[in-house]
Amino acid sequence: MAFEKALWFIKRGYLLQMSYKFDFFLRMFFMLFNILTYYFIAKMMGDAAAKYLEPYGGDYFSFVLIGMAFSGYLMISLRSFSESVRDEQMMGTLEAMMVTPTSTSSIIALSSLWSFIFASFRVFLYLVIGIFLGVDMTHANVLGALIILILTIICFSSIGILSASFIMVFKRGDPINMLLMGSSELFGGVLFPIEVFPGWLQNISHILPITYSVSGMRHAILQGYTLGSLAPDILTLALFSIILLPLSLFVFDRSVLKVKAEGGLVQY
C-alpha cells in the first residue's frame, strides 16, 4: 500500500506543479542562468585557484557545479518537510488527510516526495548541462555516488524532519532551518573549498553534513574515487544518519502529540 500511496503523492505533486507551468519553466530558465554565471566566473579565474582545487581535480566550474547541484538536496530536505506541513495547513488539506488511517509521519514524508524527485531532476539537468559545458565525468564511480546520495538524503531529511517539528509546534521561526541554511552555504564547501578557511573556521565545516556530502560527490563523480577512498565521507555521513534519523522521528512524534493535545495541528 505504501507504494500506491507514494505514487499518488508523486502524481499529486506533478499535477499541482504542472498546473503552474510558467513557474516551472521560469525555474528551469533561471537555473541555466545560474550555471552560466559560474561557468564564466570559472573562465575568468583560470588556474588562479588551482592550489585549493587540486584535491577536487583542479577545475573550478566542475567543482562549483557539483556543489550547487547536490546542495539542492540540502535545501529541499530542510524546506520540504516543514513546507509541506505548512502548505497543507494553509491549503486546508492537512485535516482531511489526518482523519484517514495513514499515519501523520507517512503523510509528511510522502508529501515531500515530489520535492525530492523535482530536486533530482534539477541535479540531472545540472549534470547534463555541465557535460555540455565541458565537465569531465567519464571516470565517475556511479555506485559510490549513489551511496553518498542515499546517505545525503537520509541525513538531510532527518534535519528537515527536525525542522518540520519546530514548524508544527511554533508555526514560524525555525532555528534549525535558519542556522543550517546559512552556515552550510558559507562553511559547507559548496561554492569554494573549505581549505580556503583558516584552520579554526574549518572546524565549523567539519561538523556540517553537507561538507562530507559535496566533498564525497566531487571525489566520486569527478575523480572516480574507489569505495575505499570514499570511505571517510561515507562513514561520516552514515554516522550523522544513524544519530539524526531516530532523533528526528522521535522529536516529530512528540511534536505531533503536543499539537494534537493543544488542538494546533491545522493552525498556521
Binding site: E4, L16, G92, E95, A96, V99, T100, P101, G263
Partner: protein, 278 residues
C-alpha cells in the same frame, strides 16, 4: 461493557485545557443521527475533532465504533468519515475524480477498488458528469457533495458532519439535507453525528439532539421530547434559549445567510423546568 457506536465518557473533574469540554457524556446507537446544537464556542467542533482523533483529549475517554480514539486511533479513523464545511480541504487544481482517488488511497484502498468506489460515489452525489473538471470550478453545493463523497469513501460506520450546510444557500441546503436523510441515513443506515446551527436541519435529520454549552451537554433527547419538556407548543429555539440562556437567533445571525426571524415567546412556565445536569 455495553457501548454505543459512539461514546464520550467523562471521568475527571478537570477541564480540558484546549477549549471547554468538561461535562460531555454521550452515547449514540448504531444507525442513529445525533445533532449537536450549541452557541459559538460551545465546543461542538472540538468534540467532533476529538472523536475524529484530530485533537487529543486531556482527560476522559471516547470510543468510536468501539475503538478508543487515543489508544486505537488508526482503527477509529478506519471506521469513520469526516465531512467538513471547509471547501479548502480539497486540492483545487486537481479534478474532483483525482481528489477522490487520492483520498481513497490514503484510506488504504487497493488500486483495483479505488476506481470502482470513486465512480460509485460520484454517481451517488450526482457529479459523474463534472468529475474531470478542476475542483475550483465547482459551485459551493458541488463542493459540499464532494465532501460527502469523500466522507463515504471507506464506507464508514460512523459519519461526522461539522455544519455541513453552513455555506450553502437555502435551496442547496435543503437539497443536501434531503440527500443526507435519504441516501446516508435511510438507505445506508450510517450512524451520524452532526453539528449544526440550523434548527430546521436538526429537527429534520436528527433522532436525538444534544444541546452543548460551555463544554457541557445541557440536555439531550429527541426533538419532540425536548420541545415537550418545556410545553406542548414550545419550539426548538425556545429549548435552546432555555438551556443556554442565549437566543438562538442572535447566536445564529452571524452564521447563516438568512437569519431566522425573531419569534420570542415568553411566559411559558420555563420556571417549572429543571435543568438537566449532565
Amino acid at each position: 461493557m455495553d457501548r454505543g457506536f459512539l461514546d464520550v465518557i467523562r471521568n475527571s473533574r478537570k477541564r480540558n485545557v484546549l477549549t471547554t469540554l468538561s461535562g460531555v457524556n454521550l452515547k449514540v446507537k448504531e444507525g442513529e443521527v445525533l445533532g449537536l446544537l450549541g452557541p459559538n464556542g460551545a465546543g461542538k467542533s472540538t468534540l467532533i475533532k476529538i472523536l475524529c482523533t484530530l485533537i487529543l483529549p486531556t482527560f476522559g475517554e471516547a470510543y468510536v465504533n468501539g475503538y478508543n480514539v487515543v489508544k486505537e486511533g488508526q482503527q477509529a479513523r478506519s471506521s469513520i468519515g469526516f465531512i467538513t464545511t471547509d471547501e479548502r480541504s480539497f486540492y483545487w487544481r486537481l479534478s474532483g475524480r483525482e481528489n477522490l482517488q487520492f483520498f481513497a488511497t490514503l484510506h488504504n484502498m487497493p488500486p483495483s477498488q479505488v476506481k470502482a468506489r470513486v465512480e460509485e460515489l460520484l454517481d451517488v452525489v450526482h457529479l459523474k458528469n463534472r468529475a474531470d473538471e478542476p475542483f475550483l470550478n465547482y459551485s459551493a453545493g458541488m463542493k459540499q457533495r464532494m465532501a460527502i463523497a469523500r466522507g463515504l469513501l471507506n464506507d464508514p460506520k460512523v459519519l461526522f458532519m461539522d455544519e455541513p450546510t453552513r455555506s450553502l444557500d437555502p435551496g442547496a441546503a435543503k437539497s443536501l439535507r434531503d440527500f443526507i436523510k435519504d441516501h446516508i441515513v435511510t438507505e445506508r443506515g450510517k450512524t451520524v453525528l452532526i453539528s449544526t446551527h440550523q434548527l430546521d436541519e436538526a429537527e429534520q435529520l436528527c433522532d436525538t439532539i444534544a444541546i452543548l454549552d460551555e463544554g457541557r451537554i445541557k440536555v439531550q433527547g429527541s426533538p419532540g421530547e425536548l420541545k415537550k419538556s418545556l410545553s406542548e407548543s414550545s419550539t426548538l429555539g425556545e429549548v435552546f434559549s432555555f438551556y443556554t440562556g442565549k437566543s438562538f437567533e442572535e447566536e445564529n445571525a452571524s452564521q447563516v445567510p438568512f437569519a431566522i426571524p425573531r419569534q420570542r415567546k415568553r411566559g411559558r412556565g420555563f420556571g417549572n423546568m429543571k435543568r438537566k445536569g449532565y
